[in-house]
Every structure is written in structure tokens, then in C-alpha cells.
């Protein structure tokens, strides 16, 4: 084995690249190995000069926090020749299970199909290392799982060396076999028990060099693709937990209202299939209402519609879009006094749903001395520790299972459904399978906070002198902290959320990638504490799309004021070569500046975050024949006809998965720029179905345009040794590119988003009492 050398995971901070790390062999029946990343010094926290993110960003923060418990992340070699890893993250479609399986398989020398990834139950000892958020998972786990796998590989080699009587360095470890030069070989499975450590001890890990990686960097389909296309992938509502009957909640007619009394409990309890009814008061953790448990969800819907409930209104009662906008504008921090020629514009971004396709849901079985809960949770430790307090149980008596999530988009950072299911199960004394109705999911679920972003740019001749941005937002809820109860408690203190989290997250993400002289970007928030009026969350994603759209629209506007082309203007002001490279790549592939028909145009958007760089060129068609297309119960409007997206994430792990994340982000960017929002009116949101809230549909998606592609994602070659973030990285640049394309096509710069928000409402709002609509009965007439 190589000489002792302790590695440094923060190599990027000091420019040194090393491939050796220390880790542990864990005492276990078969071979178990873990990483230790605590010996590393913190990232260089140089004094920020112009932009804090140049030195330390949100990704660094989350990574440093998570690495404290890296030694508890283990890879196990099993006697059947497979490797297992219980991933301490949620899989919600972002492809983290596939990427982690690739990394482990590569490091171990195992076929991808023999690495089993499960989702770990809540493990409170992991502290900050079980939060899925900030597009940070791959960035932090890449080192952790590689080190654990490399230690396992080293131990397999040492064990095989003894059995084969061959020095370990002469052995080849590949495809799950250890082979000696004479051709004799042993399978990993046959070595697993012999390689097991009798006691836990620290050992060295020597990572494979990039040149020996055969999976990392290659396109691999999702490991759950077959389960998905055959309908066998299990989500929370597909679990068969004994006794857990369908349960739904009758919800109040205003956001965060609370149930005071049921006026017809006896009649509703006598309805077909209904077993239990319980008032679930609204609390900080539990949205609440009147819960109904029945044999089928159809009977829950019938019962909820029959319930007569006396409600107390929520704190947002009576508020509408215009009220919130007024409050935001009054809270806007003052702008730096402008010297010289100034362009100054405020942009408004309305509330936006955080709905995944799977509604909030959870299974809970709360008993007198224990509780077991299943849900797609991104902060399961926080949930486990908090729900234990609420239920009056020791943390060790609560089991929190993380299920596969049907999307997230920020909604699952909080375990709202899990808290609510636990409360209902306790109140009824029975297991429950809680599912939110879609209409409630839109109207009572967490949303992206409404905000304004005002930008002032001063310039002289062909130089930008100053750039100032004042972002004012309804409070974003960060009370999940870093995923466990201690930091969440800090976030919960008066002003703690704002001072400790919102401001930090804003400062660690906002940036201006241009040489625009002195830059200030400041955040202020209204309606503290978060959750007091509106239920918010970091809905894909936190501040970046809005900050970037306001910024990039003003970049185009300054360029226009100077008589410069948007592309050439950006080229001359960019201050990072990686950003310049993605811009040039996207512009070239999109054939920037090509002749375009009237009312159609290209637009550019740039974004830097998550250790990565993105450039988007979008083409839009605002011609009357396109805008005025009719789709029954659907919104059409301008159509984005082509998107070219160049992305540099440092080290792409799975280009196929990365492309998928960018495509999804582009679909979000299109929706957020053009169509997707919630209208607040008198304390509730008008939208109650996907035909009201206009997320991108096929008729809004760029057409195939065969033989060319409607969407082209260009992944830049690896240029560093670690992966950046991907999950949200497609959104901001594409939203900005669409906004700029719209401006150039129509000659009018939009100042509120989505662009259609203040047009006449395109649907008739569903009633609020009863809170959910009955399912139609004419489905057979719609068949095709």
C-alpha cells in the first residue's frame, strides 16, 4: 500500500489536487468502508471584495457542513457480489441514485447493475449530511462515496492478496473479480466476509485517477428506468402498510385557516366507507383541517365535500396580489444614488406553485410508544427529531423512511405531509395513508414567494459604472435549517431565519458575472416569520431565477442604450473565462444573429451558480397565428421554438442525466417567464388544477423541428476534478433568455412575470367551499 498521506478534499481552495484520502474500515459482518473528510481545512474564506460568491458560495457551505459526518457514509460489499449503499438523500427525479451508483461502480470495479442504491431512513447522527437541497448532493457525495468505495476496493485487494499469495499491487480488480497475473481469480462476493473488519480502524484510500474511470462522464440511463416504464416504481401511495387506509383532509377556504368545529360529523361518519373523522389544528408544522379516513380515496373525496366545518381564517385572509406588491415596494431597500446616466427598473414576480406531480403524501403509523412514517422527505432528520418532540417520543422510537418522490421542486424540503400524517394517525389511533388533493396542493401547499427585483445601472459612453439590485421578497421559509433540528432551531429564532438563512443564502448565491464596477445586491423580506401569512419554500429555485431575469433584462437594455448587440456586449464585459466559453458555445450553436421573421427573435440569458456556468439562447415566436392558437382549457400564447443551452458543471458525472435536468429546467424557465403563476385573491389562490396553473404543456414545448432539435443541450468538457450542482441549474438562464427573446420580438420589455399574469383570467376559479371539486363522470366520452 502507498505511504501514509492524508488527503485534502478542499483541494480546490488551495489549488492542490491530491488523490489520496483517509477513511475507515467499519467493523461489520461483511466489508464496510467509509470516508473521513473532517481533517480537511475549511475553504479559504478570503475577505470578499466585490462579490462574496467568488470566494465562498452556498455549495461550499452545504458541503462543509455535510462533510463533518462523512465517516458515517458507508459502502457495503455483500456476499452475493453486489455492493449496497443507503443513500442519505432523497431521489425525486434528479437522478442522484443513478449518478451515485455510477461513482461507486467505477471506484469498486463493479458492473453498474450490481450496485444497489436504497434511500436511507433518517439517521440523526448524520447531522447536516442528510439534506437534499441547493442542488448540492452530487457535489458533496462525490468525494464521500468514492473514498468509501476506494477503501473497500483496497481491502478487497489486500484480502485477495493473502488468499492468492500475490502482492496486492499486482492484482487487477475489475467487473467484480480480483485477478492475479497467472489468471487465477476470486469474486468480490467470495471475499466479502474475509475482508470484513473485526474492528473499526482508519485506513488510506487511493482514488482511481480520472483516466481509469469508465462510467463517470459517460451517458448512463436511469437505474430505475425499467421500473418506471413498467409501472413498478413504488411511491409512497403505492406502499401497502397494514391498516393504513386512504385519508384526506378537508381544508379551510383561506391559506392557513384552522378548523374550529365540525357541524355534521354524525352524518359524514355514516357515509359509505368512512371510518374516522378528526379535527387537525393548524400548527407551524401541520397545515391541518378536518381529516377523513375511508376505505378508498373516492369515499374520502365524497366525505370532504359533505363536511360542514366552522373555520377561523388564516392571517393572509383578505390579501390579494396588489396588497402584497404594495408591501414589497414599501420594504424595498434604498438604491445607491445614481451618478450620471442611469437605467432603473423594478420587476415583479408573482407567486408560483411548488407542485410536483405527486401531491403531498405520507403513510404514518403512530402508536403509544413508537411511530413509523414513510414519505419523500428531503430533510428527514429534522422531521424525525421534531415529530418525536411533538409526539412526546424519544427520537429513537421514531422511524422515518424516505420514499421515492414523484418530483419535488422545493416542496419536499419540508415534510408537511409527514407531519400531518403523524398528527392524524395519532388523533385517530390508526395507521393512515394521507394524500393531498391537487386543488389543496395548489391552494394550501408551499409556493415560491412573490418578490420584486429592482435594478439600477449607470453608464457612461461604452462603460458600465455601477450595478445595483434590490431584491424584496415575501419571506422564504428556511426553518428546515441544514436538515436537522439544531440548525433548524436557529432558523426558528425571531429574526433568525432572516438574518441567519435568507440573507446568507441570498449573499451566497446572488452574483453579477460582468465587470460592471461597484456592484451591490441586497435582499429584504416581508411577512416574518415565514409561514405566518404564506407557506413558502425554495421552489426551484430560491432567488436565482428572479435575480437573474431582472439582471439579464437590464443587461440587454444597457446594451441597447449603447447601441450594442446583446451577445457582443456580454462578451466585452464578462469577467470569467468559463462563462465566456459557454456563451460563445451557445451563441455559435444557436447561430446567434441569424435573420429572424418579424415578431420572432432570439434572446440570451447567462447564469452562474453551483460551481457552474450556463448560457442559454432561446428563440420565441410571438406572431398572431402562434399566440392566438386555441387549445381547449389550455393557455397557448407566445411559443418558444428553439432553445440552445450550454452548461459547464466542472465535472459532469452522467451527461444523460445532466441533460435531463437541463431540459427540465428549461421547461420551468419557459413556464416561469410566460405562463406559470398563482393569483392571490382575498386570502387564497385562484388556481386549483393544472388547467388553471399553466406549467409548460406539450403545446408550449419547442416543437421537434425535425431534423434539427427543438432543444439542444451542450455539456462542456470536464474542466475540474469535481462536479457542481445540476438539479436547478437549467432554470435561471433559460427564464432570462425567454424574457429577453420576448422583449426583442415584441419591442416591449416585460416588467412582471409570468408575462400573462395580468391578462384576463383564462379560467373560472373552483369554489373554496367545499374545498375540492368532485371528480368528473364523463371520462369515457374523452377517450381516444
Amino acid at each position: 500500500m502507498p505511504d501514509l498521506e492524508v488527503g485534502d478534499v478542499r483541494a480546490r481552495a488551495n489549488g492542490i489536487s491530491r488523490r489520496r484520502f483517509i477513511g475507515y474500515l467499519i467493523a461489520a459482518p461483511t466489508l464496510v468502508a467509509a470516508a473521513d473528510l473532517t481533517a480537511a481545512p475549511p475553504a479559504s474564506a478570503s475577505v470578499p471584495t466585490v462579490q462574496p460568491v467568488d470566494f465562498y458560495d452556498l455549495t461550499d457551505l452545504l458541503t462543509d457542513a455535510a462533510n463533518l459526518t462523512a465517516a458515517l457514509i458507508t459502502v457495503t460489499i455483500n456476499s452475493d457480489g453486489t455492493a449496497s449503499f443507503a443513500l442519505p438523500r432523497a431521489e425525486v427525479g434528479q437522478g442522484i441514485t443513478t449518478a451515485v451508483a455510477m461513482v461507486i461502480a467505477d471506484e469498486l470495479g463493479l458492473p453498474l447493475g450490481r450496485v444497489n442504491i436504497s434511500l436511507s431512513d433518517a439517521r440523526p447522527e448524520l447531522e447536516f449530511n442528510q439534506l437534499t437541497g441547493g442542488s448540492n448532493s452530487m457535489h458533496v457525495l462525490y468525494d464521500q462515496v468514492r473514498i468509501a468505495a476506494a477503501i473497500a476496493r483496497g481491502q478487497l485487494a489486500r484480502t485477495a492478496a493473502k488468499q492468492l499469495e500475490t502482492p496486492a499491487p499486482k492484482l487487477m480488480l475489475k467487473d467484480g473479480m480480483v485477478t492475479a497475473p497467472d489468471g487465477t481469480s476470486l469474486s468480490y462476493g467470495s471475499l466479502a466476509r474475509a475482508a470484513a473488519a473485526p474492528r473499526t480502524r482508519a485506513v488510506l484510500a487511493q482514488l482511481k485517477p480520472a483516466s481509469q474511470q469508465t462510467l463517470v462522464g459517460t451517458p448512463q440511463p436511469r437505474i430505475d428506468a425499467l421500473e418506471i416504464v413498467t409501472g413498478n416504481k413504488q411511491f409512497a401511495m403505492d406502499l401497502e402498510v397494514p391498516g393504513a387506509l386512504p385519508t384526506m383532509v378537508c381544508r379551510p377556504p383561506t391559506i392557513n385557516g384552522t378548523a374550529l368545529a365540525i357541524l355534521n360529523e354524525t352524518q359524514v361518519k355514516a357515509m359509505d366507507g368512512v371510518t374516522d373523522i378528526a379535527i387537525i389544528p393548524h400548527t407551524q408544522w401541520v397545515p391541518g383541517g378536518v381529516a377523513v379516513r375511508a376505505s378508498t380515496f373516492g369515499q374520502c373525496i365524497d366525505a370532504i365535500r359533505a363536511l360542514q366545518v366552522q373555520w377561523a381564517p388564516g392571517a393572509a385572509a383578505g390579501k390579494s396580489d396588489a396588497d402584497v406588491l404594495r408591501d414589497l415596494i414599501s420594504a424595498e431597500l434604498p438604491m445607491t444614488p445614481a451618478l450620471g446616466q442611469a437605467l432603473d427598473q423594478r420587476f415583479t414576480f408573482y407567486f408560483r406553485p411548488g407542485d410536483p406531480l405527486e401531491t403531498n403524501c405520507a403513510v404514518a403509523d403512530v402508536r403509544p410508544g413508537s411511530a413509523e412514517i414513510w414519505s419523500a422527505m428531503k430533510s428527514p432528520i429534522y422531521f424525525q427529531e421534531t415529530v418525536a418532540q411533538i409526539l412526546g417520543l424519544p427520537v429513537s422510537s421514531v422511524t422515518a423512511h424516505v420514499t421515492q418522490g414523484g418530483g419535488s421542486f422545493g416542496r419536499h424540503l419540508f415534510a408537511d405531509a409527514a407531519f400531518e400524517a403523524a398528527a392524524i394517525s395519532k388523533a385517530m389511533g390508526k395507521p393512515v395513508k394521507l394524500m393531498w388533493h391537487r386543488t389543496d396542493n395548489f391552494r394550501q401547499g408551499r409556493v415560491h414567494p412573490m418578490c420584486t427585483s429592482r435594478v439600477q445601472v449607470t453608464y457612461l459612453g461604452s462603460n458600465v459604472l455601477t450595478f445595483d439590485q434590490r431584491h424584496t421578497s415575501v419571506a422564504t421559509d428556511f426553518t428546515h435549517g441544514l436538515g436537522e433540528i439544531l440548525s433548524a432551531t436557529l432558523a426558528d429564532l425571531p429574526e433568525g431565519d432572516y438574518l441567519g438563512y435568507s440573507q446568507s443564502v441570498f449573499t451566497l448565491t446572488a452574483n453579477v458575472p460582468y465587470n460592471f464596477g461597484p456592484v451591490t445586491q441586497l435582499l429584504n423580506e416581508v411577512y416574518h416569520p415565514p409561514g405566518s401569512l404564506f407557506n413558502t419554500s425554495s421552489v426551484r429555485n430560491i432567488y436565482s431565477p428572479e435575480v437573474t431575469v431582472a439582471k439579464e433584462l437590464m443587461v440587454d437594455r444597457v446594451a441597447k442604450a449603447m447601441g450594442q448587440d446583446p451577445y457582443q456586449f456580454r462578451r466585452s464585459f464578462l469577467r470569467d473565462s468559463r462563462m465566456l466559453a459557454v456563451l460563445d458555445t451557445a451563441a455559435k450553436a444557436a447561430n446567434w444573429g441569424k435573420p429572424m421573421a418579424p415578431l420572432t427573435a432570439q434572446g440570451i440569458g447567462l447564469h452562474h451558480e453551483y460551481k457552474g456556468y450556463a448560457a442559454c439562447v432561446a428563440e420565441i415566436d410571438c406572431t398572431p397565428q402562434t399566440v392566438n392558437r386555441t387549445v381547449e382549457n389550455g393557455y397557448t400564447g407566445p411559443r418558444v421554438t428553439k432553445v440552445t443551452y450550454a452548461v459547464d458543471v466542472g465535472l459532469p458525472i452522467n451527461p444523460l442525466g445532466l441533460e435531463a435536468q437541463m431540459i427540465g429546467g428549461i421547461m420551468d424557465g419557459i413556464a416561469q417567464a410566460l405562463t406559470y403563476s398563482l393569483h392571490l385573491q382575498n386570502g387564497y389562490f385562484l388556481e386549483g388544477s393544472w388547467d388553471n396553473a399553466y406549467y409548460t404543456r406539450e403545446w408550449n414545448c419547442p416543437p421537434n423541428n425535425l431534423p434539427s432539435e427543438g432543444i439542444q443541450v451542450i455539456i462542456m468538457p470536464p474542466n475540474q476534478s469535481e462536479p457542481g450542482g445540476a438539479g436547478e441549474f437549467g432554470v435561471a438562464a433559460s427564464m432570462a433568455a425567454v424574457a429577453n427573446a420576448y422583449t426583442r420580438a415584441t419591442g416591449t420589455m416585460p416588467t412582471s412575470f409570468p408575462i400573462n399574469h395580468n391578462q384576463p383570467l383564462g379560467f373560472t376559479p373552483l369554489p373554496t367551499v367545499p374545498p375540492i371539486p368532485q371528480s368528473p363522470t364523463d371520462g369515457l366520452q374523452e377517450s381516444f
Binding site: V229, G407, N633, A660, E698
Partner: protein, 158 residues
């Protein structure tokens, strides 16, 4: 309690429940068939799309009392058997393009796409962008571009 009978994925099934219970809950809650997903219960999101006698429909919006004993209901679980293969060409195409992200909507997407292509084939029509635009299924992960590619490819193989 009335008894209802129909043919589910090739097998005659019986279930006791009220006439107005929507078929989605009969499938999911009473028969334990979980491929069709709940996404809205309003015939909007199309996550529960299945086939009735070969045509796409949404069981969230059909009372079980409207289903006849001779009706053939096919869920994603029964799709391969309709072509006598381990996987339907549409499922193969989905794998080839690695369409899915979270996967929640994809059974419904596949069932809708199969019905669309079958209907086009019956008319002898080629698939167009307008046909793809007519698919109403929501995918909140935004897999639409890969869906379009996968459907076009599968149409050539069906």
C-alpha cells in the same frame, strides 16, 4: 353493495363497491394495481391514463358502474401483453431516450402515447408536431422534449 366485473389486463375481475366510485380508486385502493397514478382526480393531468378496449381514458373520471363486464381495461402493467412482448415498443423507446425523471407521470404518458399512435395508424396518418402537441399529460419534471422524440421513434416501430 353492487358487484362490478370487467376484464383487467386480460383477466376477469370482480369487485364490490358503489356504482359511483371512480375506477381509479377501484384499481388502486381495492385491486392494488398501482401503475395508474393519482395526479388530480379531475381528468386534467392524465397521470392515470389507461386503455378501455384499446382507447386511452382516465379512470379518475369514470364511475365503475359505467364499466361493462366485457370491457377490456388495460393498465401500464398489462401493456406488454397487448403486443405479446416483454415490453411494448413505446416502453422500449422510453428506455432508449431515457425519458423519465421522477417517473410519476410516465405510465400515463406511455399509455396516452400508445393510444395516439394507434389512432394515427388506424387512419394511416404520419405523426406530426400537432399530434404531439395534442398530448395533454402533465410532466412537471419537464420531460416533454424526450417524450416527443420517443413517441416519434416508437411510431415508426409500431
Amino acid at each position: 353493495m353492487p358487484t362490478h366485473s370487467f376484464i383487467l389486463n386480460g383477466k376477469q375481475v370482480r369487485v364490490d363497491c358503489s356504482d359511483d366510485l371512480r375506477l381509479l380508486w377501484v384499481l388502486r385502493d381495492l385491486l392494488g394495481v398501482h401503475g395508474p397514478k393519482y395526479g388530480c382526480g379531475l381528468d386534467v393531468c392524465k397521470a392515470c391514463t389507461c386503455h378501455i378496449n384499446g382507447k386511452a381514458f382516465n379512470p379518475c373520471s369514470v364511475p365503475v358502474g359505467d364499466i361493462q363486464p366485457t370491457d377490456q381495461i388495460t393498465t401500464i402493467e398489462g401493456l406488454p401483453d397487448t403486443v405479446g412482448q416483454p415490453l411494448h415498443p413505446m416502453q422500449q423507446s422510453w428506455l432508449k431516450y431515457d425519458v423519465a425523471q421522477c417517473g410519476y407521470c410516465q405510465p400515463g404518458q406511455i399509455m396516452a402515447a400508445v393510444a395516439l399512435v394507434n389512432e394515427l395508424k388506424a387512419r394511416g396518418a404520419q405523426i406530426t408536431d400537432a399530434d404531439l402537441d395534442s398530448l395533454r399529460n402533465i410532466c412537471r419534471c419537464g420531460t416533454y422534449p424526450r417524450i416527443r422524440e420517443a413517441v416519434v421513434e416508437a411510431a415508426a416501430n409500431m
